[in-house]
């Protein structure tokens, strides 16, 4: 669901751009593309977390064919994503770009214990001591990645 860059989707009826102060820059190119293509869009920049109460109402009134872009700090992106998913957006209806290092939750395939990882490809499970490989196998339910047994 998280991208390392964003691209403007073709054939959408409307775009929603949603950013915090850190994510604004990464959306400007897309916004100007939307303007060039005469595509309808809404652009909201949220300075404070308290302003986000408006998001639910904003996105829940959208019709099918709307496409959402989220960019900002890791926590901001996660909060907006969760709201969007709850309302009915799926990974087919949005792209998001977190700014800055994101910690991942890793679930050990053996003991199911959770660890936090930054960028390292291997870690030692803090719960059972098994050496784990950080996979890209993501569980939305657990909001975590699966840690496989490292085979050397």
């Amino acid at each position: 669901m998280n991208q390392d860059h964003l691209s403007l989707m073709e054939g959408k009826r409307k775009f929603l751009f949603c950013a915090d102060s850190q994510g604004v820059r990464s959306l400007y190119i897309l916004v100007s593309q939307a303007i060039d293509e005469n595509a309808p869009f809404d652009f909201h920049i949220f300075q404070e977390e308290s302003e986000e109460s408006f998001v639910d109402e904003w996105i829940s009134h959208q019709k099918m064919g709307t496409y959402l872009y989220i960019s900002g700090a890791v926590d901001f992106v996660k909060r907006i994503q969760n709201k969007a998913l709850k309302i009915g957006f799926t990974e087919h209806d949005f792209q998001s770009l977190p700014i800055g290092p994101a910690k991942k939750k890793l679930v050990c395939c053996t003991c199911h214990g959770e660890s936090e990882v930054d960028v390292e490809p291997h870690i030692t499970c803090a719960h059972c001591g098994l050496e784990l490989e950080v996979s890209d196998h993501y569980s939305r339910r657990l909001d975590a990645y699966l840690g496989y047994v490292t085979i050397r």
Binding site: K12, R13, K63, M64, G88
Partner: protein, 319 residues
């Protein structure tokens, strides 16, 4: 444990729903229950004819008692054999062979709202889907187009069972009303749409949904007849393993030709909807007519569904 791949069933009752639609209720031979099925499932019926067995698939539903399976068949004109058989050669008490229920048209479990679009006999898969949605207390609506109230099968049943969920469009009569694609513009985010009806309706609605920006993921449809291919032309195939060259005539499918030549490609729906008969393509240009592969898979030019899709010129298959 060995299980027979088909079931023998007895025709319990036949009811005329409209001038051209009959509803058949099937029951198990020994009185036990027929297998349960999920919303959108269908069965294949095996109709014995002198010229060979006709295989025809119909959506299943159950508006009567548990353990029965019902289908509704519209007499097609001209009939390719199936509906003529059901309407003119099947009587109450007859025994017929059917497949176990299969589902190539399931409901999305991620949808926040389901909108079902039916035209004519296309209502049948929605009867079981609506039963499932109502049971799970999920949000749904039906839009159903027919020529008139008299020709609208299950009109009273739908109105009584799902009040407030059903919208009807009758194209004939005093105040003719048409179901148009513009209605797709109004569905809220998180909606999944389902289309069943004539080929033209399915094409019109799926392409409109795409134009309005719906992801493919939110659009579902089911065909019971292969897509109509105008100007179908013959093409050649070369089989990679044996080097054998075969030709596929305009009036036959690749699947038919492969099976006639002893290549046992598995198949199920034969209308390009289930993916069972997929074959790998090594070289050549493919004309896709299926409704199963994703756009990326089609663009890869590495696979095709042999029941409906065709080649341009010559194809080299990994067979």
């Amino acid at each position: 444990m060995h299980r027979k791949s088909t079931l023998d069933v007895r025709i319990k009752s036949i009811k005329k729903e409209t001038a051209t639609i009959k509803r058949f209720t099937l029951k198990e031979m020994n009185g036990s229950k027929l297998p349960p099925f999920s919303g959108g499932s269908h069965i294949t019926t095996y109709l014995p004819k002198k010229s060979g067995t006709l295989e025809r698939s119909y959506s299943v539903f159950n508006l009567s008692e548990p353990g029965l399976i019902e289908i509704a068949v519209r007499l097609a004109e001209p009939s390719t054999g199936g509906s003529d058989y059901w309407h003119h050669r099947v009587s109450e008490g007859n025994v017929l062979r059917i497949s176990y229920p299969k589902n190539h048209f399931p409901l999305s479990f991620q949808a926040k709202h389901h909108v079902l679009y039916a035209a004519g006999i296309g209502i049948t898969p929605f009867l079981s889907m609506m039963a499932e949605l109502a049971e799970k207390e999920q949000s749904f609506e039906l839009h159903y187009a027919a020529k008139s109230k008299e020709q609208c099968a299950f009109y009273d049943y739908l109105n009584e069972t799902y009040p407030g969920h059903c919208h009807f469009y009758f194209s004939e009569g005093e105040k003719p009303e048409r179901l148009t694609v513009n209605i797709l513009k109004n569905h809220r985010i998180g909606t999944h749409v389902y289309f069943c009806g004539p080929e033209k309706m399915i094409q019109e609605f799926t392409s409109a949904a795409k134009n309005f920006g719906y992801p493919e993921f939110n659009v579902h449809y089911e065909r019971f007849a292969p897509p109509v291919m105008k100007d179908s032309v013959p093409f050649g195939i070369t089989l990679n393993q044996s080097g054998k060259h075969l030709s596929v005539p305009a009036d036959q499918s690749l699947l038919d030709v492969l099976r006639q030549n002893g290549i046992d490609v598995p198949y199920s729906c034969r209308v390009g909807g289930c993916g069972t008969c997929e074959v790998k393509v090594a070289e050549g240009e493919i004309d896709h007519y299926d409704s199963f592969l994703t756009e990326e898979q089609r663009d890869s030019n590495q696979m095709m569904l042999s029941c409906v899709s065709r080649g341009k010129g010559n194809l080299v298959l990994d067979l």
